[in-house]
Symmetry: C2
Subunit: 334 residues, 2 copies
């Protein structure tokens, strides 16, 4: 086999089979995937969650992760945000002719590692190859299926006035890490993407409280966009305090330099939780026990005013309406 991807690797014929057998199965092997039928078969019963995301991040390798880790964590997190325990993923790759097979192996290794941490199996997949300059290196689409325990009812539409708004940690790390890598910027401190699977954090939160109303991971569009989505879906107002939102010093510095507001910068290992005020302390304490929630904070609450809108009390005193991201801040961030 050559050292780079050929169009014939996407032909469905001999080289496609060799690619799967030599470069994918050694990393992903499990009894369901190994059957290599047109679809994978599993048993399940109950309420299932189903989600999909395409990943087009540029560059494909960045501090703290790569497109493979991102594709596993992103889809695992989308399942977790509905309170589902992720079970199975599918993985579909669109590869540009000429892509290095050594880089593909590196990404498969990172997919394997992320899937092991999240305890999910990749049970079905596909590979397409397109001519040079018809795609940029590698795009990955993952879909996922998870199971929701009896009694769990988490949706962006469930926020109620009086609920507390929790954030699991610092914002902007992923966006700034990718941006810095892409633009060749160097900041004094090493900054890594926060890319991580949050399903165990969520399952620990669900163990201590049955009154978690909304969960969402503030990815593209950042914290501000996610809060706006939740306010709209729940037809409620959300008031947050700028001073309570954790932001790393290096992210603050980079944002100032680049003229960005960290509340619009993408995260890949953070979640917003809207919870009943009666349970907020125990949920917060539980979150802080998990490495991915150690900087968790209460950042605001749900109100009967400003329905469908997000209001931020700024550090300087006055409040302002914070809208969804308009325009495009950082293309190909995930």
């Amino acid at each position: 086999m050559d050292d780079s991807i050929l169009l014939a690797h996407g032909s469905g014929g001999k080289l496609s089979h060799e690619l799967v057998e030599r470069k994918f199965l050694p990393f992903l092997a499990n009894p369901v995937l190994n059957k290599l039928d047109d679809s994978a078969i599993f048993e399940a019963s109950g309420r299932l969650a189903f989600t999909t995301d395409s990943y087009v991040v540029n560059p494909i390798f960045f501090p703290g992760g790569d497109i493979g880790k991102l594709a596993v964590c992103g889809t695992v997190n989308d399942l977790a945000m509905n309170g589902a325990r992720p079970l199975y993923l599918s993985l579909s790759a669109i590869i540009e002719e000429g892509f290095l097979i050594s880089e593909l192996e590196q990404i498969m290794q990172s997919i394997k590692k992320a899937a092991e941490e999240a305890e999910v199996s990749i049970i079905t997949g596909d590979t397409k190859v397109v001519n040079r300059r018809q795609a940029d290196k590698l795009f990955i689409t993952t879909s996922g299926v998870g199971i929701i325990s009896l009694g769990v009812d988490i949706s962006g539409a469930n926020a109620r006035a009086g609920d507390k708004v929790l954030l699991s940690g610092t914002i902007g790390d992923h966006g700034i890490a990718v941006m810095s890598q892409r633009e060749g910027l160097r900041f004094s401190m090493a900054l890594e993407s926060d890319c991580a699977p949050l399903n165990k954090l969520v399952s620990q939160m669900l163990k201590v409280s049955s009154r978690i109303h909304c969960l969402r991971d503030p990815t593209r569009g950042g914290l501000a966009t996610t809060l706006n989505e939740l306010a709209r879906q729940s037809k409620a107002g959300i008031v947050v305090e700028e001073a309570r939102i954790p932001v790393k010093e290096e992210v603050k510095a980079a944002c100032e330099l680049l003229g960005l507001d960290p509340i619009y910068v993408a995260n890949e290992g953070k979640l917003v939780a809207i919870v009943d005020p009666a349970d907020v302390d125990k949920i917060l304490a539980q979150m802080r026990k998990n490495n991915y929630g150690r900087d968790a904070a209460i950042i605001g609450e749900v109100t009967k005013e400003h329905l469908g809108k997000v209001v931020m009390k700024t550090k300087l005193g006055p409040s302002r309406i914070v809208d969804m991201l308009s325009g495009e801040l950082l293309p190909r961030i995930c």
Copy 2:
């Protein structure tokens, strides 16, 4: 909203929401999708099939279909090929900046129509936008979930010596239709892709027989590659007769002109069935009642010889080993 896709349509912010609300939901609306949570929730119980495919066909519009119809039918068919009844699809689009919104609407319309015919709902999705020349117009990835009835056990590994090999109709239509469109070739007769959802054909076949052992749709790599996959997975030999394989006159003519062998050309609305000889007549009769199986034929049988290989009795008399496609015949055919 402008008449073409902007990077901001993929930002996750305002324009992303507008795109989903104005251009996707009007075509795909259903109670689960409409919730717009991170994942879609459905109830199911039993043996489920899960599959995924990315579609990168070029051109995106071709005689008999487009990338949208293909993305629905392809994934529906992969589920059906394990005997599953397709239930739900996910849909993820990677769009090149500058893509016309009118073309996107045309494709959504065709997705809607194909999903209606196949009786599946699209319940979750994603959209990414990449800069100009970082993708070619539009790539779509669909994943699907289906349910397998009790007692159904269909796998590429189930062929046994003595089984009959059925083909649901003419081969090469899709590949030649796309190729002709792409290269601007004009043949005397209008040729259309066979792109179609085969789940109803399969469910009708399953109604008349519980002895269908393998099903597979001969897409990329064509009939020859599919038969080789089945022979390898089942560790059996397959002998087919060239004279019994239906090929349209215009496909034959185009293949001669282009130097292609139709047994390697992609299909998107055909299936190979390997069945117990005792049931072959009733399965064949049933297939011919369905519009997508009206040209169905017995093309060969499974043998104890040539294990893992496919042998073709040619029209001229002698037999030859037919291997998987090697190299790449028609890039971006699906």
